[in-house]
């Protein structure tokens, strides 16, 4: 029995859903950010799986993953800098306490 495309897609959908759950349920700014990385990883698995199963010797999916990683690296650098700035100003990591723009 071989592994089919559906198996990979289900796995990446589950990873993505777990990332969404972490994004919605966690109360910690850093953990919310980590959940975004988990979602990106789930999407990367989808790209590579499609590239492997649907196209003969295609590397386009791999290149998409490459660019996703590039953007993720830039996003992590800027996002963590924002987190540092926020924590310096408000002295908390709890996202419930960051309600300056509420109402």
């Amino acid at each position: 029995m071989v592994v089919s495309l559906a198996d990979y897609l289900v796995l990446s959908a589950l990873l993505f859903a777990l990332g969404v759950a972490g994004f919605l349920f966690k109360k910690d700014l850093i953990t919310v950010f980590i959940s975004i990385e988990l979602m990106l990883n789930g999407v990367n698995l989808t790209f590579v799986a499609f590239s492997h199963y649907l196209r003969q010797n295609a590397i386009d999916g791999n290149l998409f993953v490459f660019f996703v990683m590039v953007v993720a690296a830039a996003e992590a650098a800027v996002g963590l800098a924002i987190i540092i700035a926020v924590v310096r100003n408000r002295n908390t990591l709890n996202i419930d306490k960051m309600d300056l723009m509420k109402n």
Binding site: V3, S4, L5, A6, D7, Y8, L9, V10, L11, A13, L14, L15, A17, L18, G19, A21, G22, F25, K26, K27, D28, I30, T31, F33, S35, E37, L38, N41, N44, L45, V48, S51, H52, L54, Q56, N57, I59, G61, N62, F66, F67, M69, V70, V71, A72, A74, E75, A76, V78, L80, A81, I83, I84, A85, V87, R88, N89, L93, N94, D96
Partner: protein
């Protein structure tokens, strides 16, 4: 063999993702994300994407996660105290999320189950990726470098101490105005 590897490392990735959700301390979540990334790198190898697998280890697990752990240690992030969430979210959230997962899985399993595995010839992937990157995808690649430049500048600007900047800026401003007024005085 392939199925066994898929089950082992797919399960490992899922376990890491669930552990990421369950853990209270951010450092434990970050370390379980490293586990997920390692397991995914093995899955990428199974899918014949060696380049992506190694980049996953080097860039993601090596660089990005080190940045995360560094910031977690810098901010001394403690386990977060559970706060009150809305009751609707608590009762309706898990069933809706489970339903969504089931629908997704059923949809995917029904439509793509008969796609045959691609058993093409092995190729030198890194070479092909380099060629594509510098011919077909040259413009996105160059835009990427601009993105990184902006990212570096933004990160440095955001993470620099605001009080330090505030101290420097008025000092320079004052010196300037003093010089101007002195000039004016000299002229008068």
């Amino acid at each position: 063999m392939q199925l066994a590897l898929f089950i082992i490392f797919g399960g490992l990735a899922l376990a890491g993702a669930i552990n990421l959700l369950v853990q209270k301390a951010p450092i434990h979540s970050a370390l379980s994300l490293v586990l997920v990334m390692g397991a995914l790198a093995v899955l990428f190898l199974l899918l014949g994407a060696e380049f992506i697998a190694f980049i996953q280890i080097l860039v993601y697990a090596g660089a990005i996660m080190v940045l995360f752990v560094f910031v977690i240690m810098l901010l001394n992030a403690q386990p977060s105290e559970p706060s009150r969430s809305s009751r609707i979210a608590r009762w309706l959230g898990p069933p809706v999320a489970g339903l969504l997962g089931i629908i997704l899985a059923a949809l995917v399993a029904s439509r793509y189950h008969r796609v045959p595995a691609n058993m093409g010839q092995p190729m030198f992937q890194v070479e092909a990726i380099g060629n594509a990157l510098f011919h077909q995808y040259l413009l996105p690649f160059e835009v990427t470098s601009v993105l990184f430049l902006v990212g570096v500048a933004g990160a440095v600007m955001l993470a620099s101490r605001p009080d330090e900047a505030a101290q420097n800026a008025p000092a320079g401003h004052l010196a300037e105005t003093e010089a101007i007024s002195r000039k004016k005085g000299a002229g008068a």
